[in-house]
Amino acid sequence: MSDSHTHDVSKHVRSYVLVFAALAVLTIVTVWVASFEFTVGAAVAVALIIATFKGSLVASFFMHLVSEKKAIYWLLALTAIFFVVLIFLPLGAMLDHQGTPNVP
């Protein structure tokens, strides 16, 4: 392993510590914000925005997605598309039938 490689990793170590601190603070913020009297919609939005930000920090730095190979990005883009379909297709189908009588 070259000295420059070792130096690169030691630079990353600093970012890992910063990300850990950010995750800890954001966890406290998540709990604090949940004590506000938001409507359900607003509470869901705020909680998921913070969770998504925390998740991106983990994926970007701990899982090294900030500097990953193209094949991984394509794989994850495809996964994201199917994930969105998985979440919204059943929901859309259900909302489509809401209010209609359950006729056999």
Partner: protein, 196 residues
């Protein structure tokens, strides 16, 4: 016969095989948890009323568990970074801490489950409890699986450091990618089940 591309990057993918393998596995994991999150949304939207997680579950214990898992994630990545810097002793310390944080998570979770059972709250009692036990139970199994792999890499599997250090470092990276994914899932489970 040697297994190809355990260290060197495959020319067409630009990475060693195990890395592509673990990302493909994680993609399937996204769909597994995604299906359960989708079920959660459907059940919640269709329910005439839905309890606030905090009224049934312990937010302080779940917050503690979140802290334990994010701590385990940073020690996991530090263990890999230690190997990259050829500090095997530090690797052992960081991976050992990762295991302890994981164990702490499981202990806290067992207290949580125990409290629910002592109040006669079981998966069959309500839709909320059913989805709570399904999601957290599957997550706990993932934590357990990750800990078994990490324990192997900390103990007997660490012998490889002497014979094939780069391959061993890659093994730790792959185990780390899985462990971070388990942390990532919890980051979403925590607000969804406990706070909303």
């Amino acid at each position: 016969m040697d297994i190809p591309y355990t260290v060197d990057a495959r020319p067409d993918t630009g990475m060693y095989n195990a890395k592509l393998g673990i990302w493909l596995f994680l993609a399937s994991e996204v769909m597994l948890f995604g299906a359960l999150f989708s079920s959660y949304i459907l059940l919640r939207v269709a329910a005439p009323e839905w309890p606030r997680g905090a009224s049934i579950l312990s937010v302080p214990l779940a917050t503690l568990n979140t802290m334990l898992l994010i701590s385990s994630s940073v020690t996991m990545v530090m263990s890999w970074a230690s190997l990259k810097m050829k500090k095997f002793g530090a690797y052992r310390v960081y991976l050992g801490l990762t295991l302890l944080f994981g164990l702490g998570f499981l202990i806290v979770k067992s207290f949580e489950y125990g409290a629910k059972f002592s109040h006669h709250l079981y998966p069959g009692d309500s839709t909320f409890m059913a989805i709570y036990f399904t999601l957290t139970g599957l997550h706990v199994l993932h934590v357990l699986g990750g800990m078994i792999v990490n324990a192997y890499l900390w103990g007997p599997g660490a012998k490889m450091w002497k014979t094939a250090p780069e391959q061993f470092t890659n093994r730790v990276e792959v185990a780390g990618l899985y462990w971070h994914f388990v942390d990532l899932v919890w980051i979403f489970l925590f607000p969804v089940l406990y706070l909303l």
